[in-house]
């Protein structure tokens, strides 16, 4: 039966190489666990252990250096079939360059087995040391590198692996592989391996240079595919019918500038939606620092009677600034043609002609931007207040927004003569 798992292809390994016995033991253990060839997906890495896939009669994937645990993780995700056994194999070099993948598979307790054949060196490229090369090996071979090796078994265990074993004795390999294959979740078996040309030539040497054998188990939930029913991103409920009329002549660009947390983006979005409700085409984009909770927050809205192609706004027609953070960003964009509205908290440059209102006083820090929009619409008459109210009423904070809009509209009536300072 073991032969059924193997393809019959002649082994390509050097005389005395540890990979040959490992291959035979994998086949033996899979057979003992009842797996048939097409029940198994074998994922191999780069290096001498990457020569194993033609030797198996199973499904095989031969990928990149260090990535076999990640590729195997993807196979497990795609198959979502506990009846199939996914086995990845890599060497100590692969485990070094792909350590993140190994840890991630362990962290998720992905239902797979990773076999790390540790011959203490990179065999295919000339015997260089890996992150799993022990200091005993390096000392004996006069390799000047004092960095201790990763303990890949402990790392996998700490990350969440269900089963981990290190095997230094050939006769124990089958037993440990059977235990690994039979354990649901992520299992890892590190197998000490001879490399006649560059590494240990005898088992006694290999045992002396290897870490101690270990078996570590822990219970934990096994990663399972969660397939969800989801809803469309384009629901009919978000359709904005043209129910008002607008007084926008052609195209108008509005820049709204304030600070993070000041509702600038929300207010701009409501303005755009109000425009759409009034039958206009609208675009809106935001700009803010990558630290989204501090600094400036700027939004640009374009409203037009025609479809909008280019969405740049080099010279906004209207600039509304509600904080000093916003002023710093908006000031260079304030052209001579722009109508400018400032909050009274903004330090108005003496050379700037602007209309100043107490938006903060009306609506507070979080509502000043929306208040400014509502005020501007009220005084300009470009969009009916009802359009903004309708847009705001659909928002989860609709009740608060409606109060702000009402107050700001009132403000516009009270302060028909803008005060300058």
């Amino acid at each position: 039966m073991t032969a059924e798992l193997l393809s019959g292809t002649k082994f390509p390994f050097c005389p005395g190489c540890g990979h040959g016995p490992t291959v035979k033991n994998i086949a033996k253990a899979l057979t003992a666990c009842g797996y048939r060839p097409l029940d198994v997906v074998l994922v191999s890495d780069i290096g001498c252990c990457g020569l194993v896939d033609p030797l198996f009669a199973t499904h095989t994937l031969h990928g990149l250096h260090g990535r076999s645990p990640a590729l195997a993780t993807g196979v497990v995700m795609g198959l979502n079939n506990p009846g199939k056994k996914v086995v990845a194999i890599q060497g100590d070099g692969g485990a070094t360059i792909g350590l993140q993948h190994l840890l991630e598979a362990a962290r998720r307790n992905t239902n797979m087995t990773l076999i790390v054949t540790n011959n203490l060196i990179y065999g295919m490229t000339g015997g260089q040391v890996s992150g799993l090369s022990t200091n005993e090996f390096k000392d004996e071979n006069h390799i000047a590198d004092e960095a201790p090796p990763f303990d890949v078994c402990q790392l996998a265990h700490q990350a969440g692996a269900a089963y981990v074993a290190r095997v230094n004795t050939p006769k124990s390999i089958t037993e440990k592989l059977i235990e690994a294959f039979a354990t649901p979740g992520f299992s890892l078996v590190e197998i000490a391996s001879l490399c006649q040309p560059y590494g240990a030539k005898k088992m006694a040497q290999l045992r002396a240079w290897s870490r101690e054998e270990v078996v570590l188990r822990q219970a934990g939930p096994v990663a399972a595919l969660k397939v969800r029913e989801t809803e469309t991103l384009l629901p009919e409920s978000r359709v904005l019918p043209a129910m008002f009329s607008a007084g926008v002549p052609g195209r108008i660009g509005v820049m709204l500038a304030g600070s993070a947390g000041g509702g600038v983006q929300s207010a701009a979005k409501l303005l755009a939606k109000a425009g759409i409700l009034a039958g206009l085409a609208a675009t809106m984009k935001g700009e803010y620092p990558i630290t989204v909770g501090t600094g400036f927050s700027v939004a640009e809205v374009i409203l037009s009677n025609n479809e909008i192609n280019y969405t740049g706004l080099e010279n906004p027609d209207v600039v509304i600034v509600v904080t000093n953070d916003g002023l710093l960003k908006a000031r260079p964009r304030m052209g001579a043609q722009a109508r400018i509205y400032l909050d009274s908290q903004v330090d108005k440059p003496t050379d700037l002609t602007a209309e100043v209102f107490d938006f903060h006083k009306v609506a507070g820090k979080k509502g000043a931007a929306l208040a400014a929009i509502a005020h501007w619409l009220a005084v300009s008459g470009l969009l009916p207040a009802a359009a903004l109210r309708t847009a705001a009423s659909k928002h989860k904070y609709g009740a608060e927004f409606l109060k702000i809009i009402a107050a700001a509209t009132e403000l516009a009536v009270v302060q028909q003569e803008p005060r300058m300072r």
């Binding site: 031969h62 990149l64 795609g78 198959l79 359709v239 904005l240 280019y310």
Partner: protein, 403 residues
């Protein structure tokens, strides 16, 4: 809802528009009379692409967050039936490759730094012939550049990312394209057994717009070919269309061997003429379908001798520029290329018919122009390029008007 029309459909104005039922600049607007049956929503390109990918049958989103592809990650989490947050971009594409090998159609979205990390695995997936879709949102580079500044600077990389081999790359030049090209990306990935790129930019996927949902063609899941597999199935034996029938690993009928290394039709690592033929076919299977993959809009002006050539977000400015030039009495046509790799020969043939051709690109030195005409193009080929912000219509109009 309209359905996706036949390619090369002629509209009444004599404007050749491929695939799309309308072009972005030709949506019915208020000045043309308000349609009463419109369903206007306020959305963005990220949502349209995500929705279209899911409706086209993409199974899972595997992502690592990066600006300006943030919204794809957020929408992917919300909309895809399966979502996985990977710990890095190499893992993203390895997981996708494993899932694709097992028969799923995975999707991710990233930007240049993520794509750089994915490069080796992208080559692996290409050689393994695994269907998947990568959305690349361009931002200002090189290096980390400026994550929140848009650009069109990744085409040169994509043109050579599988060195010497074509990686199908579609580039939406408007919201309608986001929808239809996402569908075409899935269709291409499945039917040509290959990774496919949707090349977008920050402006295309992060700026919200009013948009008429009634203009979106209906779409359903792309049918996955079910190969007839008698005894002796070979995972890399090309069929009639030049594409090898795909069976997933883990199936219970036939052994499947997939490999990133040079291999024969059976998927065995062998260096011989058969393996070279399999390697050559990676390019041939895509290039031989270049005409079917080709998407473009050739917006003609009768009597025009000048042509604007653009793609992506710059094509929107080019539309406005063409209209502004027309208002001045300048006759200029516009070619918007939406399939950037492979470039169909008919694109070159179209360009050949004009006396002056202006490539409009938001990058340092005209990457598409250089791909098409090299570093020493003919005198009639000119570039309008800009780095650091969108090209404004006036920046296109002025060089042409000054001619």
């Amino acid at each position: 809802m309209p359905v996706i029309p036949d390619k090369d459909q002629q509209n009444t104005a004599g404007i050749l528009i491929t695939l799309l039922p309308y072009a972005e600049g030709e949506l019915p607007g208020k000045t043309q009379g308000m349609a009463t049956d419109r369903k206007i929503t306020f959305t963005d390109g990220s949502a349209l692409i995500t929705e279209a990918l899911v409706r086209s049958g993409a199974d899972m989103f595997i992502g690592y967050p990066i600006t300006p592809s943030n919204r794809f990650y957020a929408y992917g989490q919300k909309r895809f039936p399966v979502f996985y947050p990977a710990p890095d971009e190499i893992s993203v594409l390895q997981w996708m490759s494993g899932a694709a090998a097992a028969g799923k159609l995975p999707v991710t979205a990233t930007a240049f730094p993520g794509l750089a990390l994915m490069t080796e695995t992208l080559n692996m997936a290409y050689v393994m012939e695994l269907p998947m879709v990568l959305v690349i949102t361009q931002r200002l580079g090189p290096s980390t550049g400026s994550a929140t500044v848009g650009a069109q600077g990744d085409l040169a990389l994509l043109n050579g990312i599988i060195p010497g081999f074509p990686l199908p790359t579609f580039c939406p030049a408007g919201f309608a394209d986001c929808w239809t090209l996402a569908h075409k990306a899935v269709h291409t990935a499945v039917n040509l057994r290959t990774p496919v790129v949707l090349l977008t930019s920050k402006e295309m996927v992060m700026t919200s717009r009013s948009f008429d949902l009634n203009k979106l063609p209906e779409m359903g899941p792309v049918a996955r070919p079910k190969p007839k597999t008698g005894k002796g199935y070979q995972p890399y034996k090309a069929g009639d269309a030049g594409v090898a029938p795909f069976l997933p690993v883990g199936n219970s009928r036939h052994q499947v061997r997939l490999t990133a290394s040079m291999h024969n039709r059976a998927g065995r690592i062998v260096k011989n003429e058969e393996s070279l033929a399999v390697t050559r076919n990676l390019a041939a299977k895509i290039n031989s379908h270049a005409a079917e993959l080709a998407e473009y809009a050739h917006i003609t002006t009768p009597g025009a001798r000048k042509l604007l050539v653009s793609y992506g977000v710059s094509a929107l400015a080019a539309r406005d520029a063409r209209a502004a030039l027309a208002a001045r009495g300048e006759k200029v046509s516009l070619l918007i290329i939406k399939t950037l790799i492979p470039l169909a020969t008919e694109i070159f043939a179209l360009i050949d018919t004009y006396e002056e051709v202006f490539f409009v690109e938001e990058n340092l030195n005209g990457q598409l122009q250089e791909i098409m005409f090299g570093k020493r193009p003919p005198d009639k080929i000119k570039r309008i390029c800009k780095l650091g912000s969108m090209i404004a219509p006036a920046e296109i109009v002025n060089p042409l008007a000054a001619q």
